[in-house]
């Protein structure tokens, strides 16, 4: 193909189609230009108008999400969202998908996903302080699963460990719908002083446009277009469009950028992510309301004879585009050269709001910026709502013994310990990780302060599939709950919306439904969206994934000494459930994995008022010192949550509570289990009455067993063994 990627080829409608443009879109481009585009211009338009860059199917619905609040400094539309965390400090964060590349080449796909999201965050002036991820793989028994898990985990670790940013949390699900289309969503959180935030907008006619970082090669050309198409069996042939990451160069780029950002030389800065030099230059100039001239002969290349088309569309990693104040080039160049990085003035800002590109002394493109940046058509794709599902029918169910069900769940793919994964991530580098992987939310101290950020990634795709609205609500609510359980106040979310082919009305209906639910939850919980990413066309051979709107929540606690963990910490403490337990088994792990019932029924309903009230109550009682451990109740219900709290520090629990399988394994929402020491009991129950919150004492801590009177006794050691063995057994080929 590469011999064709230059202006010697005349553009036809067939070539436009090969670039993923519809005939109508191509006609629009011809209209905007007033002529037939040349090959370079077609390439640029095709990536800027790809689903990945233009959000053309999703924009209409994204606009409806709540994005404002007093805590929001920068909402969606920049490289990352920015929130106020007090004292002049900010948290800057975003989550992004790297699904398609990770399926084709798991190590590099995942690694460059992590590298890309970190650049989005440090482009804005932040120092990245935490990485998280949300991963979805096919069935454990699928022949590709182990290979993909091993490669993705290794790639995430390989990049994050080297650059020296701790990977502190994440979530993993396995489901057959991801067999041919795994999801790799990477989230990065950074911190910056509020007066040192950098934006993309480029201003000042004549200001120099500067390229820094690694050299440009042919890797990743049309990665954004690939991410905007369905997979088929021939997708492996797209391996060359997967970028190759170099975390060492990114570390140098991070340090060099931080050093330059300490001065006031930068006007605007933007990383070269999807669609590389093209999207970065278009976005910077468009946001600043100026034009841009680029001379490709100045671009540092690591391959010879690259055409202008290839240079503009390359997705080589670890590169940044900056606009500097005129006259500050020399001081910036000195910094980048000290770090051994390329630095080149490749153009300047112009008036006229056009993008003009020269190569080998000739003009090879001249395009109107407005149409490149925002000109892609916004589609209102047909959508049909997911039908209402029947309630779970418990009438003819034979329940196994509760002890057997518990053991089965603790060793289940969805609940088994993820230690095998997170021990491959450096979770402690930077010396501020207070709570790493394995808890409800990770806690990372804001360096040199008493504050800590609480972070969690959450979504339950099987709920979203059964009922997109309730599933969308639940994803946001679970992130809210996980953060609240540490004592931190939830502040804002980022999201990564992974769906199938939006051209199918039922898929579009899932998208619309999930966003509806998410929006309701964000509003009710005062938990706005500040950044995000959409990944559509997650299908292989026409089979879509479960709708997976992954949520990355961020909160803050003013004094980390007041934060608590999710495990029991003492014997003879009282154990309470906050929130009502009705025994909701619909779409529960119990239904799927213990009863082996695949019927699509209604998932648990989310009462957003109760969520908020319970979250506020948990945070208040933690702050008052009444609650000394808290864990949200999610997958697997009460008994799994109790087991997890006991396993954390090996402290058992005994309960006199009488309940059936639905009680112990139901997944009613809005619930927490908390530990209240004897001397705090009166204060806790009084506070619950005052707040009107449903609390129910279910047992006492102590011993080294989980005991439910007349129902079961299991040693914590055995639960731990069952829970810990599954992943290593899978990866060593012993199971599945």
């Amino acid at each position: 193909m590469s011999t064709r990627l230059n202006n010697l080829v005349d553009v036809t409608e067939d070539i436009a189609r090969e670039h993923g443009l519809t005939d109508d879109e191509y006609k629009m481009i011809v209209g905007h230009l007033g002529r037939t585009p040349n090959m370079t211009e077609l390439g640029v338009f095709s990536v800027m108008w790809s689903e990945h860059c233009s959000y053309k199917s999703s924009r209409k619905w994204l606009k409806k999400l709540p994005t404002e609040g007093p805590q929001v400094i920068q909402g969606p539309g920049e490289n990352a969202g920015v929130i106020d965390i007090g004292d002049g400090d900010t948290a800057i964060f975003k989550m992004e998908s790297h699904n398609h590349p990770s399926f084709i080449e798991p190590y590099q796909g995942a690694a460059t996903g992590v590298g890309g999201i970190m650049r989005d965050v440090f482009t804005m002036g932040a120092r990245p302080v935490a990485n998280l991820n949300a991963l979805r793989f096919g069935e454990p028994s699928h022949p590709k699963t182990r290979h993909l898990v091993a490669g993705v985990v290794s790639g995430i670790g390989g990049y994050g460990n080297c650059i020296g940013v701790p990977t502190v949390g994440g979530e993993v699900n396995f489901d057959a719908s991801y067999n041919g289309n795994i999801l790799v969503n990477a989230m990065c959180v950074g911190t910056a002083r509020a007066d040192k935030i950098f934006y993309a907008a480029a201003t000042g006619i004549g200001s120099p446009v500067v390229y820094v970082g690694a050299k440009t090669g042919r890797d990743g050309i049309h990665g954004a277009t690939m991410a905007s198409a369905e997979f088929d069996d021939a997708s492996q042939e797209k391996r060359p469009t997967v970028q190759v990451g170099d975390p060492f160069t990114e570390k140098l780029l991070l340090e060099a950028c931080q050093e330059l950002m300490a001065s006031d030389a930068i006007i605007g800065i933007q990383d070269m992510g999807a669609a590389g030099l093209t999207s970065s230059s278009v976005e910077m100039a468009d946001k600043g309301g100026v034009g841009i001239f680029i001379d490709l002969d100045k671009v540092p290349c690591r391959e010879t004879a690259m055409s202008g088309y290839e240079m503009l569309l390359s997705e080589s990693q670890e590169r940044m585009l900056m606009v500097l104040k005129p006259g500050r080039e020399a001081e910036a160049e000195k910094i980048f050269h000290r770090w051994g990085l390329d630095f080149a003035v490749i153009g300047e800002l112009t008036d006229g709001h056009r993008m003009v590109v020269h190569h080998q002394g000739e003009e090879i493109a001249d395009m109107p910026l407005t149409h490149l940046a925002d000109g892609a058509p916004e589609y209102d794709r047909p959508h049909v709502a997911t039908p209402k599902r029947p309630e779970f029918d418990a009438s003819n169910v034979t329940h196994p013994a509760i002890a057997d069900s518990l053991k089965s769940l603790m060793g289940n793919s969805e609940i088994a310990s993820r230690r095998w994964i997170w021990e491959q991530y450096d979770s402690m580098v930077m010396g501020d990780t207070l709570v790493g992987p394995g808890g409800d939310a990770a806690l990372v101290r804001v360096h040199g302060t008493q504050k800590a950020l609480a972070m969690s990634t959450d979504v339950t795709p099987r709920y979203c599939f059964a009922d997109p609205i309730e599933g969308g609500k639940q994803a946001v609510a679970e992130a809210y709950r996980n953060i609240s359980a540490t004592g931190a106040t939830p502040l804002a979310i980022t999201n990564c919306l992974n769906f199938g082919n939006p051209e199918r009305p039922e898929i579009m209906g899932q998208f619309v439904g999930c966003l509806d639910g998410m929006g309701q939850a964000c509003l009710a919980l005062d938990f706005p969206v500040v950044s995000g990413n959409v990944s559509l066309y997650n299908e292989t051979n026409g089979t879509g994934i479960l709708p997976t709107p992954a949520i990355g929540g961020v909160g803050v606690i003013a004094d980390y000494n007041n934060a608590i963990g999710s495990g029991f910490t003492q014997a003879d403490a009282h154990v309470f459930v906050i929130g009502a337990s009705h025994g909701a088994l619909g779409c529960s792990l119990y239904q799927r994995h213990v009863l082996q019932d695949e019927a699509i029924v209604a998932p648990p309903a989310v009462d957003l008022q109760a969520e908020r009230a319970h979250g506020e109550f948990v945070r208040a009682t933690i702050a008052a010192g009444a609650v000394s451990a808290a864990h949200d109740v999610s997958d697997g219900g009460l008994l799994v949550a109790l087991s997890e709290m006991a396993m954390r520090h090996g402290i058992g629990v005994s309960s006199q509570q009488q309940g059936d399988s639905a009680y112990w394994f139901g997944e009613d929402q809005g619930r927490y289990i908390v530990q209240v020491s004897a001397d705090q009991l009166a204060g806790f129950t009084t506070a619950a009455q005052a707040a009107g919150v449903n609390v129910n004492e279910i047992g006492k801590t102590g011993g080294d067993e989980l005991t439910i009177d007349a129902t079961l006794t299991i040693s914590i050691a055995e639960l731990t063994r069952i829970n810990q063995d599954w992943f290593p057994d899978l990866m060593s080929g012993k199971t599945a």
Partner: protein, 222 residues
């Protein structure tokens, strides 16, 4: 006393260890750049963890040949104390200040977790605040921490009490010979270790077992 932390491109625990040194000495250490050909006289030089030069070649081998390392080696020979943590340990073996090599973990994966260590020699300049054979917990985070040396070198390390730390029984994360987690030179003033004491020098981070290493060396040099 003058302490310095060498910053290689790709070092990523330089700030973490500087925090511990400042806590132990009361003043921030000198941060010395890899490309510098000179280094002020130092009492203690720290080679921090990370991925120096990306570690795309054998870990630590590029760093061992950087300009600053000629100075580090020269000062070590004049009696300066040197501490190499993780990648720093790899650099110390690569530049010949410590014997042996660090191979890839036998599990073939990067491993980051707490490990139980035994203080095998509590007599040297770094470890004297620990009890002999005391069990402590310090985390590791590495892909190449599998200490290897030939039989005679291992015998010599044992004979001269150069094994400072060993992994607790059943807790060897990387397959290291003799469960070695850290060794010194014969003088006991050059220490290389895979575990990260700077990550456990504060109660909020899970414990303070690593703190005595820093206060210990500072006391020794005072």
């Amino acid at each position: 006393m003058q302490a310095a932390v060498i910053v290689f491109p790709g070092s990523n625990c330089d700030r973490d260890v500087a925090v511990c040194l400042e806590a132990a000495t009361g003043t921030p250490p000198l941060m010395a750049w890899h490309g510098d050909a000179s280094l002020p006289d130092c009492d203690l030089i720290v080679l921090p963890g990370g991925f120096s030069y990306g570690d795309y070649l054998r870990c630590g081998s590029m760093a061992a040949n950087s300009p600053i390392m000629r100075e580090v080696v020269a000062q070590a020979h004049k009696g300066a104390a040197v501490l190499g943590i993780c990648n720093g340990f790899q650099i110390l073996t690569e530049c010949g200040l410590l014997p042996g090599v660090l191979m890839q973990n036998t599990g073939l994966n990067f491993v980051c977790r707490d490990t139980r260590l035994t203080v095998s020699n509590a007599q040297n300049a770094f470890t004297h605040l620990y009890q002999q054979d005391e069990e402590i917990i310090i985390p590791v985070a590495h892909n190449e921490g599998n200490y290897f040396a030939d039989e005679s070198t291992l015998a010599s390390l044992q004979e001269h009490q150069q094994i400072a730390f060993t992994y607790g029984a059943g807790d060897n994360p990387n397959g290291a010979s003799l469960d070695i987690a850290g060794i010194t030179d014969k003088s006991g003033k050059i220490l290389g270790m895979m575990p990260h004491p700077e990550r456990r020098a504060e109660a909020a981070l899970g414990g303070e077992d690593g703190k005595r290493l820093f206060t210990g060396i500072v006391e020794s040099l005072a």
